[in-house]
């Protein structure tokens, strides 16, 4: 397998970890609503990460595609553009049942999730 | 515990077969109101409107099959949304043991009967299911 052709985190780094302006726009600039939504977002990220790990063992591609699609949607909703872009790549990889690529992207996703959590912590969320 | 609706719903796409079932029910449980649907979408609407005690559901129909209604009922049960709980008897040609097992495991399914319909067995089943309401 030619690992030089696999994507890296830097390929997604043009997109921001989290666009706070976008996030606030989504919630009509309501800080309390933002906090509520972010709490749910964080919980869902951790749950989805676990589910992906399980479904990956069984190579359950339909399920992996649905989860990636959902992850993409919720990340883009809240302005976590980078994470959404990674999830989009995972959605495409699961559509073509590309195990090495999906595995690789999953590692990048996990780093991406850490970045989001760190960013939120730095911003008191 | 919901009040008895005294309604029965038959969901079957073939008009002759459907008429046969309706006539049959009119004979064995004449005190019940009969409703019929030729497709699952109409069947679903009628199921919710009339809240039947019993549903006779053909699994194989053009368009959406019987599992459409089963999926909806199960989502309703799991989220405790439903104000009623019909006994659903599904009619299946039962091609394999796996298929039979899969159907009988579904929480929305009260009984599975084969095609062609064994009317004597159906009569016993119907009376048993309506009694336990």
């Amino acid at each position: 397998m030619d690992t030089s052709k696999l994507p890296r985190m830097i390929d997604f780094s043009n997109a921001p970890v989290l666009d706070m302006k976008k996030a606030l726009y989504r919630v009509h600039n309501k800080q309390e609503l933002l906090e509520k939504v972010i709490l749910v977002f964080k919980k869902n990220l951790l749950e989805k990460k676990e589910t992906i790990a399980t479904e990956l063992v069984n190579e359950n591609w339909e399920s992996l595609k649905l989860i990636s699609h959902s992850l993409k949607g919720s990340s883009w909703t809240i302005g976590a553009q980078r994470l959404g872009d990674i999830a989009y790549a995972m959605e495409k990889a699961s559509a073509s049942k590309d195990l090495p690529l999906f595995n690789h992207l999953f590692t990048i996703l996990q780093n991406g999730i850490d970045q989001v959590f760190n960013y939120l912590a730095e911003n008191g969320l | 515990m919901n009040t008895q609706s005294k309604n029965i719903l038959v969901v079957e796409d073939d008009p002759l077969t459907r008429q046969l079932y309706v006539n049959y029910f009119n004979t064995i449980v004449p005190n019940y109101n009969l409703y019929e649907a030729e497709n699952i979408l109409k069947g679903t609407c009628l199921c919710f409107e009339k809240k039947p005690e019993l549903v006779l559901l053909d699994m194989i129909m053009p368009g959406y099959g019987g599992e459409f209604l089963l999926d909806i009922m199960e989502e309703g049960f799991s989220k405790q949304i439903l104000s009623f709980s019909p006994k659903i008897i599904v009619i299946s040609s039962i091609e394999s043991a796996e298929e039979l097992m899969a159907l009988t495991k579904r929480i929305s399914v009260a009984s599975v009967i084969p095609k062609p319909l064994p009317f004597d067995t159906l009569e016993e089943l119907v009376k048993l299911h309506l009694q336990t309401e």
Partner: protein, 131 residues
């Protein structure tokens, strides 16, 4: 539709979006009742059990999507089983123009809005319908 008795149904698989839509509606109509469904199957159950006046409907959902929800409403209306006319506002991430136009022509669909829904859009739509 009267402001004080209004019932809404949100059919949307993304929990975050459900929270946002619910907040928007509660602020606009403090006395309203809001029901939530994660997919069209739950949506269909809640529609019949609760008879909402207005539905915010996502199209792409696991298990059963918005298309199916609309089909049920259409069939119910066609067969005269459903007497009331709900209003459906589709809120979707679908970008294809032909698809969006086709959705807009469906029974009970009053408006098709691209995600994300903004509160002012909702207000503009609803204040026409709700006294």
């Amino acid at each position: 539709m009267k402001k004080n008795n209004i019932r809404f149904l949100i059919v949307e698989d993304d929990e975050m979006i459900r929270i946002i839509h619910k907040d928007f509606l509660e602020e606009l109509f403090p006395n309203c009742k809001i029901f939530e469904a994660e997919n069209a199957a739950q949506g269909i159950c809640l529609y019949f059990e609760c008879r909402p006046h207005l539905i915010l409907l996502d199209m792409m959902m696991p298990l059963m999507g918005g298309e199916t929800f609309l089909e049920i409403l259409e069939e119910g209306h066609r067969t005269k089983i459903l007497k009331e006319m709900p209003k459906v506002v589709v809120v979707t991430a679908i970008k294809d123009v032909k698809e969006l136009m086709a959705i807009g022509k469906r029974f009970a669909v009053e408006a098709v809005i691209s995600k994300p829904l903004v509160q002012s859009q909702l207000k503009a739509l609803l204040e026409d319908w709700i006294s």
